[in-house]
């Protein structure tokens, strides 16, 4: 199939404003008469709120309003209170908020709010938290015999005990991953203003999900949805960290009480410990294999730290536990566990990177133990078409093996040094794979064909990764015109149709398909409008390559502009709509080979090269897809070797800044090689599927496996700290 727009390397449509510094992010916006919001946060990991006195703060210069937990009788959609009521359950939990005329006045007023806390014992470790007698984070509603269980998910297939009985070898290992921040560079920010005449509230915010924001705000502020307009702003990075409501309800409530616009900017420090970072996990795997490496049984017990409030970690964790492999007998029990930590949010691919770190590390252990090449064991077990995958589906295509093999080939797997070098610096190579299920969710788009034949696309999906540019390519392809003839507008909740949030790699897959369907709808309307004039039934009118013609009648054709202008006369307007929620899951498989250098004396790990392959179905915009792969892998490198939250014995976060929470810098990145495979086609536009999450999934495991190859140290706990390697090496001496 020849394409005119799909598959082209099109620069981001929002790029010119971004490189020029013209893009207005939340912090850049100022409204006339705007007040500043400030938030008081708990210094305790767990405490009862005995008393809050706000009278002093109220009298401070410039202060217009002070609110406490009473302002919000209900919690948000995930069960997280906006301001703590009666108890604080993590350090940094918001307790009260103020609105004042200047930022400094707001800050001063916050420190004038007096709170008496009665500190309580706290629990921070997931394993401790599930023991009998553990401190309970939510004492009112829990089973004391099984404390702090926020959610359980179980999945079963076959007979796992019979599987272990039939296995030649059984391996049992436990893996751990840390709390990490998503690492977006733009801190959370929101503005709100209420129109006193209509009682309508407008909220401008840096969010991944404006319609979900609207639903949560309607509930929290007790307003009908029609009275709330959420305007999703350009987002300076999110990676799952801006899925949920954050300071929007605080800005909204302060705006309502004061009748003035209110802006709330979260500081970098507060963004570290008081928003929704990615939670820790402990994963126990018991795996039975045949001598030839075939997997026969897997029992997994997964504990995900959900922090102080409920989350969705356990469900997704359970659904991914088999990895991109055939596992005939399987039993997974997955828990979300409460601790006195921040409420855990999403991070690119949710718990898939955790689970795959465990699975892929253990698969490496198995391969080495059985004397099978780590590549070979993966190929032998790779999912094929028709294999059951979790969630009651069947694998729709055979592609996993090719993805894994491609990564290995591109990395020169067969030529890699077979023995570990003896010098101070040891090189090693490791491979890992991973998968992610892409769910389209509620997706919609409008497409208008203008009288001059240009095309306007409107969606309510937040454009994080350049999806608007891909939408332009999809629409251009549908009409057979160049990308320059298409504009894409991200509307807000008043001006665009409803969409789920921009998460889980769903936007290009789901909303992209909605755009394609909206284009088809518009083409149908054009054809109907013209059918009488052209004297042929609508289904014989063909729209392609920017022209409208009659099938089988050469010579009778109109330009799109002529057709659109006439059709507008007949129909008023050509407005195509696409809305869907019914696409089957797409399965996205990624594989990576990491080459590392390990300093035997200091334990320092440097990732020298990272080869990434991935099935993307169809790369609508290869440049953008490569950017997703490289960016995700970069986050995987951070997850693998340098990022973690570090707490002291009092439960206080110690590394609440970008020096001590170490994200990889320009000199910490390897050479990347990216191979895109365009084979596993699902219901997405032109066969495309989500691409953003999968490439983070295998990275940490590939690095850990490379470290093992280099120095023979098996790290089962992320990040792979130099100190851990040195300790293990000296133990082995």
């Amino acid at each position: 199939m020849r394409f005119v727009a799909v598959g082209k390397r099109v620069p981001r449509l929002d790029g010119p404003d971004k490189v020029a510094g013209k893009t207005q992010f939340g912090a850049d916006i100022a409204l006339p008469g705007m007040l500043w919001g400030g938030i008081l946060r708990s210094p305790h990991a767990h405490a009862r709120i005995v008393r809050i006195r706000t009278d002093k703060a109220m009298k401070m210069p410039g202060v217009v309003a002070v609110i406490t937990g009473q302002a919000f009788p209900t919690s948000d959609g995930e069960g997280v209170p906006v301001l703590a009521r009666a108890k604080v359950r993590y350090e940094g939990e918001a307790v009260a908020a103020v609105a004042a005329e200047t930022e400094e006045q707001a800050r001063a007023a916050v420190s004038a709010i007096e709170v008496d806390y009665a500190p309580l014992p706290y629990v921070a470790d997931i394993r401790e938290a599930t023991k009998r007698g553990a401190t309970r984070v939510h004492d009112e509603s829990e089973d004391p015999k099984h404390p702090n269980i926020a959610g359980v998910a179980e999945t079963k297939r076959g007979d796992v005990e019979a599987g272990f009985a039939a296995a030649d070898r059984v391996f049992e290992d436990t893996f751990e991953t840390p709390w990490v921040h998503q690492g977006f560079l733009e801190p959370h920010v929101s503005l709100a203003a209420m129109d006193p005449a209509s009682g309508r509230l407008t909220v401008w915010t840096s969010t991944q999900a404006q319609f979900n924001q609207r639903a949560d705000l309607a509930n929290l502020l007790r307003l009908p949805m029609s009275h709330i307009r959420v305007i999703g702003l350009p987002v300076g990075g999110a990676f799952g960290g801006k899925n949920a409501v954050c300071v929007e309800p605080i800005a909204g409530e302060l705006a309502r009480r004061t009748g003035m616009p209110v802006k709330v900017v979260v500081s970098r420090r507060d963004d570290f410990f008081a928003t929704r970072p990615c939670g820790a996990a402990v994963m126990e795997l018991k795996t039975g294999v045949k001598k030839d490496g075939r997997l026969v049984a897997l029992r997994a017990r997964l504990l995900f730290d959900t922090g102080a409030y409920p989350g969705a970690q356990h469900g997704v964790g359970a659904s991914l536990a088999q990895g991109p492999y055939r596992v005939p007998n399987l039993a997974v029990t997955s828990y979300s566990v409460y601790t006195n930590r921040p409420p855990a949010g999403a991070r690119r691919a949710l718990t898939s990177p955790h689970v795959h770190f465990a699975l892929e590390s253990q698969l490496d252990i198995i391969a080495h133990s059985l004397g099978i090449d780590p590549l070979e064991i993966r190929l032998r077990n790779a999912l094929r078409k028709g294999d059951p995958v979790l969630g009651g589906m069947e694998m729709p295509y055979t592609v996993a093996g090719k993805v894994i093999r491609t990564a290995a080939e591109r990395a020169g797997w067969e030529q890699r040094p077979s023995r570990r070098s003896r010098g101070r610096k040891a090189r090693g190579v490791g491979i890992a794979a991973g998968h992610w299920s892409v769910w389209a969710g509620g997706s919609s788009a409008w497409v208008q064909v203008n009288e001059d034949g240009t095309i306007s696309v409107v969606t309510g999906a937040i454009n994080l990764t350049g999806t608007n540019t891909s939408f332009a390519q999809i629409a251009a392809e549908s009409f057979g015109v160049t990308v320059e003839r298409v504009t894409v507008h991200q509307g807000d909740t008043d001006t665009s149709p409803r969409n789920d949030g921009s998460w889980g790699s769903r936007v290009l897959f789901g909303v992209g398909e909605a755009v394609r369907r909206a284009c088809e709808d518009a083409k149908g309307q054009l054809a109907e409008g013209l059918s009488e004039e052209m004297g042929v039934p609508a289904d014989r009118i063909l729209i392609s390559e920017g022209r409208v013609s009659v099938r089988g009648k050469a010579g009778r054709s109109l330009t799109l502009a002529e057709a659109a202008s006439r059709a507008a006369d007949y129909r008023g307007a050509i407005i195509g709509a696409g809305a869907l929620s019914d696409l089957p899951f797409a399965v996205a498989v990624a594989a990576q080979v990491a080459e590392v250098e390990v300093d035997r004396e200091t334990g320092q790990v440097e990732v020298k090269r990272l080869t990434c392959s991935q099935d993307v179905g169809r790369a609508i915009n290869p440049m953008s897809v490569e950017g997703q792969v490289e960016g995700a892998a970069s986050q995987g490198i951070g997850y693998g070797i340098c990022e973690e939250y570090i707490y002291d014995a009092e439960g206080t976060l110690l590394n609440d800044n970008l020096m001590d929470f170490r994200m990889p810098t320009s000199v910490d990145h390897p050479e990347y090689e990216v191979a895109l495979i365009e084979e596993g086609r699902d219901g997405g536009p032109f066969g495309a599927k989500g691409v953003g999450e999968p490439p983070l999934v295998p990275t940490a495991a590939a690095i850990a496996n490379a470290v093992y190859d280099a120095v023979g140290v098996r790290v089962k706990q992320l990040p792979i700290k130099p100190e851990r390697i040195v300790r293990e090496l000296s133990r082995g001496r």
Binding site: E104, T602, R662, T665, D668, K721, V726
Partner: protein, 290 residues
Amino acid sequence: MAEPQMLQPSTLSEAVKALAGRGAVAMAGATDLIPAMRKGEIRPRVLVNLKGIAEMTGVRRTRQGTRIGALTRVADLLDDPIVAQDLPLLADVAAGFASPQIRNLATIGGNLCNAAPSADLALPLLVVDATAEVRGKGGRRKIAMSEFFRGVNRTALRPGEILTAIVVPRPRRRTGMAHAKLGVRKAMDLAFVGVAATIQISPDGKKCRRARVALGSVAPTPRRAAKAEAILEGQLVTSQLIDEAAEGAASESRPVTDLRASREYRREMTRVLTRRALREAFRRAGKEQP
């Protein structure tokens, strides 16, 4: 919080007078000061901006040695031809200091006066017996770099005193210098351990005539490793001797466990990095023309 008053003296005596006032705080590059003020850790009533004081700027050679004005920016240390010749180790360390954005603001005097246990720039100065030039109400005085640091964020400066310059003695013959630093990231990282070393060898190139070893991030202050130095001085340099000296440095380190690394790891890395720095310093000393 009351906004502080900003004073911009143009001479040292004006600055000394200004600093005598209540709540006066000296300011140079301000890269440590601004975050501390914003966090409320310090609440100055008067900020004394030293940047207009000509006497505190520039690098030049004097009879005592190389004089580096305290206002010299970290970025300038990288490019300065005199530093490149007289103390290339300082330029090396400056190159790994934070980022260009910070190196263009931060000053050597500010980094030393902030007196962090990890103060990068202190190490090369400690191993060349540099001296701090200080001016206060009582006039001028000199403080050996080895006496300058007194504790975490504490120096030997008396209230109201200003660090005006660092004086580095003329380079010694047959001397090699090296440093080693360990962090997780390859840049923008506060070191777990930093080591600088100099070795002056005998004319036959075999014996260590004089040795200096300085350690960072393994004690409340950057400090010399006297034991390691004593092990080396006067001895035939062998790989075994260097190992012993490295062991000595590790044994006299006083590291703590903090968010960046454990005490045990820091001590072990003190040994590893001291050995690396000494080996390199010895190698370089052999390359120097006698």
